[in-house]
């Protein structure tokens, strides 16, 4: 419902909570005992994606960068990390439109945002 707003505000993420708690709580309700494994799964794949992104950019592997941001987009949406998901979406669209040109400006924001999300999610365990 507020995705439009977040899409435009990715350049100033600190202004908002990295986690949409209503979404996260809905997920906790749905998953029950599996909620923790979701958080673990997200933290593990998120960490791996954030670490892989600079390498793929270094290798000029646009396909891999696109795949990584695409994965991050849906994974972060699952845990209510809406701002992160929107950033990943922006990155994915940008690669599709103009390749890896100046992609680092977005991926460095992604890295910072992921760290915020990580801190917030660990509190939930």
């Amino acid at each position: 419902m507020d995705s439009q707003h977040h899409t435009k505000s990715h350049s100033s993420p600190k202004a908002t909570d990295p986690i949409d708690h209503s979404k996260l709580n809905a997920m906790r309700e749905l998953l029950g005992d599996d909620f923790e494994s979701l958080i673990h799964a997200f933290l593990s794949s998120g960490t791996s994606i954030v670490a892989s992104l600079p390498i793929a950019i270094e290798n000029q592997d646009a396909i891999e960068v696109e795949r990584l941001t695409h994965s991050l987009k849906s994974a972060s949406a699952n845990v209510g990390a809406t701002a992160l998901s929107n950033m990943a979406n922006d990155a994915e669209n940008r690669i599709r439109d103009c390749g890896l040109n100046k992609i680092e400006s977005i991926t460095s924001c992604i890295k910072l945002e992921f760290e915020q999300v990580q801190i917030e999610l660990k509190k939930q365990l």
């Binding site: 749905l30 997200f42 699952n78």
Partner: protein
């Protein structure tokens, strides 16, 4: 059986086990969320991390529904879907693409590769539930249709067996008559019927009903019954066609009818009688097919269109040489198509005939060329090919039951026979009635009804037909049989005969039949008298005995051999045949 089907009609609740779902996604958190949602809906779940693994899981577990991510390492969702759908065959396994993509081309591709729906990420419980419900509905419908189709196919096969048993099993199939029937569906709308007349004539009818499949095949049953009953009773070709037409007109709905080709090989081996009603030309060729001697075009309406069609004037009689062939071909042959959509056509058909070398039957060489032409193109219409050879071999072989020898006649054979009885009846046909009525089958059936003749019926039929035809053709119509001997003579003869019959205003033929039956022997006296001037019978009989090569008179001589005596009297316009038999 019905109960399991109707389960789909009651709304499915989340409490019922739903079956097995396969989740294919490389992102673990996605699988966890979808897994939880599906578990809530009572699905059992298997998972795969990429397209290749999905194929393996599909083979191992045969899931009921598949959720497929698009972008995955090793193998993407598109390729995986193509392969899984191929493995599914006739079974409907819904594949729902999981997509975060907004790219329209990618969405279109999901459907192209065989996907059944999309689900956008992040997953929403309500949307997922509705989509699954819709898919289940389609899947159940699919299963129901498949069950019905299987059932129908099974029933059709049984029905076809019963049906062809009833229609085709009654056929006589002389070895030299070649036929190829290749239906487009389980049921054929083409029907081939063959039967012997009491005098040994072979009747062959190839019918082609409008359409094909079951509805087209249904009409074959009454047609076969009428064809067989009337042939066996000795009715003429036009009478048989008239009756079939009447019956089909009553039975078939408007717009349905039967085109037909009819050939009668006359037992006298001097001619064939043909009729084509709305079918391709009947071709009369030499033995190899290289020479087309006659084309018999369609002159009659297809059967069943109008209530009172009269096929008398649509008949053709042609003289034929031994080993000539009458070719009956349904339009399924000329209209058969190659994989490129090209028609087989009449020209191609006749080219095969022209190249005939006699090494294989005409039917076989056409069938072989046709097969090479059509390859695996779908067959649109029933294909039928029949080759009727003009040979005594195809005629009925009846055991010679008449006791030609009189030496064994027992002196006082019947004096003490308690079943001694006799019967006499006389029929006189006058003027124009002679055109409309063929009294021979009627009389024979009358005698049979009254006297219960069995084996003798054929012979009495032959004698009576011959005498009646002679009285009509020569006595009343004053036709000369020597006409037949000239080239094209048969056609001239029959055209002239028809013309004179139509103009006939007076004259009469009287037939008297007097029969005496004992327990195992009997005697039938047939007298035929006409109003004509008669002929010099003494001289005539002497002549035909010395020259058997002329077709004229041959029939009379045959009759004379069948009878104990054959006597002309008056001016030659009255004849009496005595036929006796003794089964002891």
């Amino acid at each position: 059986m019905q109960a399991t089907q109707s389960a789909s009609a009651t709304p499915s609740t989340d409490e019922q086990p739903k079956g097995l779902a396969l989740i294919v996604d490389d992102e673990l958190s996605n699988r966890i969320v979808l897994n939880a949602l599906l578990k809530k809906m009572n699905y059992t779940i298997v998972q795969a991390e990429n397209g290749a693994q999905a194929i393996e899981r599909y083979k191992e577990t045969q899931p009921d529904i598949i959720f497929m991510d698009i972008m995955m390492p090793v193998m993407d969702g598109f390729d995986s879907t193509v392969q899984i759908k191929a493995l599914c065959g006739n079974t409907f396994v819904p594949i729902i693409f999981l997509t975060a993509m907004t790219d329209e081309k990618a969405l279109a591709r999901c459907v192209e590769v065989g996907g059944d729906d999309f689900l956008t990420k992040p997953f929403n419980h309500t949307v997922l539930k509705s989509k699954i419900r819709a898919m289940e509905r389609i899947r159940d419908l699919h299963r129901e249709v498949k069950t019905l189709l299987d059932q129908r196919e099974h029933e059709e096969e049984i029905a076809e067996k019963v049906f062809s048993g009833a229609v085709m099993a009654g056929n006589v199939m002389p070895e030299k008559l070649k036929a190829l029937m290749r239906p487009a569906a389980v049921f054929s709308g083409d029907v081939l019927l063959t039967a012997y007349a009491p005098n040994g004539d072979l009747n062959v009818l190839l019918g082609d009903f409008t359409g094909h499949g079951l509805s087209a095949a249904l009409g074959a049953l009454p047609v076969s019954e009428t064809f067989r009953a009337m042939t066996i009773k000795g009715f003429s070709v036009d009478q048989i066609l008239n009756e079939i037409n009447r019956k089909l007109h009553t039975l078939l709905p408007t717009g349905m009818f039967m085109a037909a080709q009819f050939v009668r090989i006359n037992h006298t081996m001097d001619s064939m009688t043909l009729c084509c009603c709305g079918m391709p030309d009947i071709l009369i060729t030499n033995i190899t097919g290289t020479e087309i001697k006659h084309r018999i075009p369609s002159t009659g309406l297809p059967l069943g269109i109008i209530p009172d069609a009269d096929y008398l004037h649509s008949m053709s009689s042609i003289s034929a040489d031994l080993e000539d062939r009458a070719l009956l071909v349904s339009d399924g042959v000329t209209e058969a198509r190659s994989p490129d959509g090209e028609y087989f056509g009449q020209e191609r058909l006749e080219n095969i005939l022209a190249k005939g070398n006699g090494k294989e039957s005409i039917v076989n060489s056409i069938a072989n060329t046709l097969e090479r032409f059509c390859l695996d193109a779908p067959q649109d219409d029933d294909i039928s090919l029949v080759e009727v050879p003009f040979l005594p071999d195809v005629l009925a072989v009846f055991e010679d039951q008449h006791s030609s020898g009189t030496e064994e006649k027992k002196g006082a054979k019947n004096s003490d026979d308690s079943q001694n009885n006799s019967l006499k009846f006389v029929v006189t046909l006058e003027g124009p009635r002679l055109l409309r009525i063929d009294p021979v089958p009627l009389l024979i059936n009358q005698i049979q009804e009254l006297e219960g003749l069995k084996e003798q019926r054929r012979i009495i039929f032959t004698i009576l037909s011959e005498l009646y035809i002679n009285a009509l053709d020569h006595g009343i119509l004053n036709l000369n049989s020597t006409l037949k001997a000239k080239p094209g003579g048969f056609t001239t003869y029959f055209t002239e005969r028809e013309k004179r019959l139509k103009e006939l205003s007076d004259g009469y033929i009287t037939i008297s039949i007097y029969s005496r039956l004992y327990s195992s022997s009997g005697e039938v006296i047939i007298q035929v008298k006409d109003s004509g001037p008669g002929f010099d019978y003494a001289n005539y009989i002497a002549n035909i005995q010395s020259d058997l090569s002329t077709p004229s008179g041959r029939g009379l001589l045959l009759t004379k051999e069948l009878c104990e005596s054959l006597t002309y009297s008056n001016s030659g316009n009255q004849v009496e045949a005595i036929y006796t038999w003794d089964n002891n």
